[in-house]
């Protein structure tokens, strides 16, 4: 019995010791020491978003090396980061967030994505007042109404939906199109539906819609329904492999509409449908690799330098690397603007105040007071299945309806 008590006592002492060590490390601003800034990120490493996790991790690795080796740190501080796995699950996201904030005590959370996981921590972000600088979202409610600490580099599907109708009526000049939306039945898909409906209302058109459950692969019923309603122009909101499936399904039942995919479908996996993907349209807010913009060339070179030619091929092969990389460039600028005396509030102000950021043709990124969206301009791309790439058919433009409850940045 005595032994047991002794053992318990030892255990308690150990716990005490460890926790005091943890507490002793008191800092001026959380996550900032005199020679290091610690960032956190949660990634999907083994779930449905693992392909994004891979790219984000690569971008972060390159960014860290670039800042520390080439720039010599930011005002004398090196940057570092910790990554937690969240498996695209809201509970694990909350756990990862809590761990980053309270255990690793990071300064800010960067390069995270996904509306579903981030919904789970909206309240915590407000409470902890920690800047979260994310890469991608599709739903309006992520940045509207804006949360001071949460920044998105987002293409909302409302915008994409409105742009589809604009493009149909004004550019393609289709007479009496029959509009349809096939969407994943979550906030993302509902955003798309709302967008198309807004556009359709403006031009006096009608919309047919059909939803599929996330994770579902059998789109036969959905495609049949669209065909039965005689849809000629169909918007799709969802992941690219499912888009490829929908194309195959449409071909199978002899339904031949023109598809419009949101920015998530600008993805090499769309070519899983082979030549069926040819000629359909997509909306995209980033510069394309084949345009050889200065931003892309610089990014390519950095990736090849820091990761090695071979390793860099994988992450760069996807067309959305600027979505991860541009925010990191932007963040670097904001951190430099903050000066040596770095605080979270200052960072938020710095992110807000950068104007006309030059991304080198990677896509526009800009915030402002109460503007947390980041993306404001899109292009329409057309898919070329032979070259396995997407080519812009319009210039940069905004949807004809600026939808949202708060002020939007004015087009320049």
């Amino acid at each position: 019995m005595k032994k047991k008590v002794l053992r318990f006592g030892m255990a308690i002492l150990c716990i005490l010791g460890v926790s005091f060590f943890a507490m002793a490390n008191v800092q001026a601003e959380v996550g900032v020491t005199k020679d290091k800034i610690l960032f956190g990120s949660f990634q999907d490493m083994s779930g449905p978003g693992a392909y994004l996790g891979k790219q984000c991790s690569a971008a972060l690795a390159v960014w860290k090396k670039w800042v520390n080796e080439d720039l010599g740190g930011i005002h004398g501080r090196k940057v570092d980061f910790v990554i937690e796995d969240m498996k695209y699950d809201p509970v694990l996201t909350k756990t990862a967030f809590t761990k980053l904030v309270h255990q690793h005590k990071v300064f800010a959370i960067i390069t995270v994505y996904g509306s579903t996981p981030c919904t789970a921590i909206l309240e915590d972000i407000k409470r902890e007042k920690i800047p979260v600088f994310t890469t991608a979202a599709t739903t309006q409610n992520m940045f509207d109404p804006p949360i001071r600490y949460l920044f998105w580099y987002a293409c909302s599907d409302e915008d994409n939906g409105i742009m589809m109708v604009d493009y149909l009526v004004n550019d393609l000049k289709v007479k009496n199109p029959k509009l349809g939306v096939v969407y994943q039945d979550d906030e993302w898909g509902k955003s798309a539906l709302k967008g198309v409906k807004l556009g359709a209302k403006k031009y006096g058109l009608k919309v047919a819609s059909s939803a599929y459950k996330r994770g579902s692969k059998n789109l036969n019923a959905q495609a049949m329904k669209m065909k039965a309603k005689g849809v000629t122009h169909c918007f799709y909101a969802g992941y690219a492999p499912v888009y490829a499936n929908l194309l195959k399904e449409a071909n199978k039942i002899g339904w031949k509409p023109v598809f419009f995919g949101d920015y998530v479908t600008v993805d090499p996996r769309a070519f899983m449908a082979g030549k069926l993907a040819h000629g359909h349209y997509h909306f995209f807010s980033l510069g394309m690799r084949h345009e050889r913009g200065p931003g892309w060339i610089k990014m390519e070179k950095l990736f090849a330098d820091k990761l090695g030619e071979e390793t860099a091929k994988g992450p760069l092969g996807w067309r959305i690397m600027p979505m991860m990389w541009t925010p990191l460039l932007f963040l670097t600028q904001a951190l430099e603007d903050c000066g040596r005396d770095l605080t979270r509030e200052k960072l938020v102000d710095a992110l807000e105040s950068i104007q006309d950021f030059d991304s080198g043709g990677l896509g526009k990124i800009q915030y402002g007071p109460n503007i947390r969206k980041g993306t404001h301009y899109y292009r329409v791309l057309q898919c070329d299945a032979e070259k396995k790439d997407f080519f812009p058919v319009t210039g940069w433009r905004q949807p004809s309806i600026l939808y949202g409850s708060k002020e939007r940045p004015v087009a320049k």
Binding site: M45, L60, V82, T119, A120
Partner: protein, 348 residues
């Protein structure tokens, strides 16, 4: 479950909640450690402890149904979801206080549990398993599509709970609420198992027809097991909702149901100790794995997808390894250790 009776010599001893002095003293020390925990560790550890606590409560509920009564349910997360959504809707829309929302969440889940319990009178074994699975998926569907009430996947934000005018808005303060309920649930289950009802449950589990012959009202006890189990699940769900601060349909999926089944099996079926230790084990296992893999993923980010896969493999291997080594679960290991030390120093 023969092992459970090993350390007992007389009936009085069997009827005691805490069999020996040593057990009582170690329990008191354990209790003190739990009480003092938030003072010694960081916020994150307290948060994980809270998740452990909720899982313990929920696992105890499932154990009453599966461990004691032998009715396997793959719909436990759905009951939690019903409790969580009841609490969330009552507190965010109707402004119910924490103390009122909590029991109502339990009652709501219990009421639905009674309905789900009815088919069990006719169904056995895997037929029942799949029926509860059906309940799980249908509940998920309803939560997802009853948008006017549940806001679908935007989720419901819960106000921070308050008790007697004191705001429980930190993990540390809410930890004590969860600890209280976890202890209460454990005491309740332990007592229940020793009451007439508990013994009736065990009789139903071991041979339901024989139990009926000796005068146990099958319908009553099977449905009662469902009611009690889902009440506890509903309560756990409500606590979970308050802990998370925001709940959505993805919080209560089929995978969660599997996780709870895993907890009670890994811990050891039909024992309170097993549910507690199993729940803690299954919550901490991913933590331990990520404590090892996390630094690797951060140091070699291009390697991180591999790390994710490896952690899934390790998770599976640990479960297989444990059960191959000791099919009665962690409780079985505990008993083995006890049995080994009991006659000490006269081991042979």
């Amino acid at each position: 479950m023969a092992v459970t009776r090993f350390c007992v010599r007389t009936y009085e001893q069997d009827l005691r909640i805490f069999p020996s002095l040593a057990a009582r003293i170690s329990l008191i020390i354990f209790g003190l450690v739990l009480l003092g925990l938030p003072f010694f560790v960081g916020k994150y550890v307290v948060f994980v402890a809270c998740v452990c606590g909720v899982s313990v409560i929920s696992a105890l509920g499932l154990n009453i149904l599966t461990g004691y009564t032998g009715l396997i349910s793959l719909g436990h997360a759905a009951f939690m979801g019903i409790g969580a959504y009841t609490a969330a809707i009552l507190s965010s829309k109707a402004g119910f206080p924490f103390v009122a929302a909590l029991p109502l969440a339990g009652l709501m889940a219990a009421a639905i549990g009674a309905v789900v319990g009815v088919p069990t009178l006719r169904l056995k074994g895997l037929y029942l398993v799949v029926t509860t699975l059906a309940f799980q998926f249908i509940t998920e569907h309803v939560i997802y599509h009853w948008e006017s009430l549940t806001l679908s996947d935007r989720g419901i934000i819960l106000p921070s709970p308050a008790l007697l005018g004191y705001k429980l808005d930190t993990y540390e303060s809410f930890y004590y609420v969860i600890l209280f309920f976890a202890v209460a649930a454990a005491m309740f289950t332990k007592n229940l198992a020793m009451s007439r009802t508990g013994r009736a449950f065990v009789a139903v589990r071991d041979r339901d027809i024989a139990a009926e012959i000796i005068g146990i009202h099958l319908a009553k006890y099977k449905i009662l097991a469902f009611v009690i189990s889902s009440f506890i699940a509903g309560l756990a769900g409500a606590l979970y909702a308050y802990l998370m601060g925001l709940i959505g349909p993805d919080h209560f999926t089929f995978n969660q149901s599997i996780l709870y089944i895993a907890m009670i099996i890994v811990g050891g079926l039909g024992t309170v100790f097993g549910s507690v230790i199993g729940a803690v084990f299954m919550v901490l296992l991913p933590e331990v794995i990520s404590a090892v893999t996390g630094p690797i993923a951060s140091a070699y980010p291009t390697f991180s997808p591999r790390v994710g896969a490896i952690s899934v493999i390790v998770y599976g291997l640990v479960i297989i390894g444990f059960l191959l080594f000791e099919p009665d679960g962690l409780f079985g290991i505990w008993i083995k250790i006890k049995r080994y030390w009991k006659p000490w120093p006269f081991t042979y």
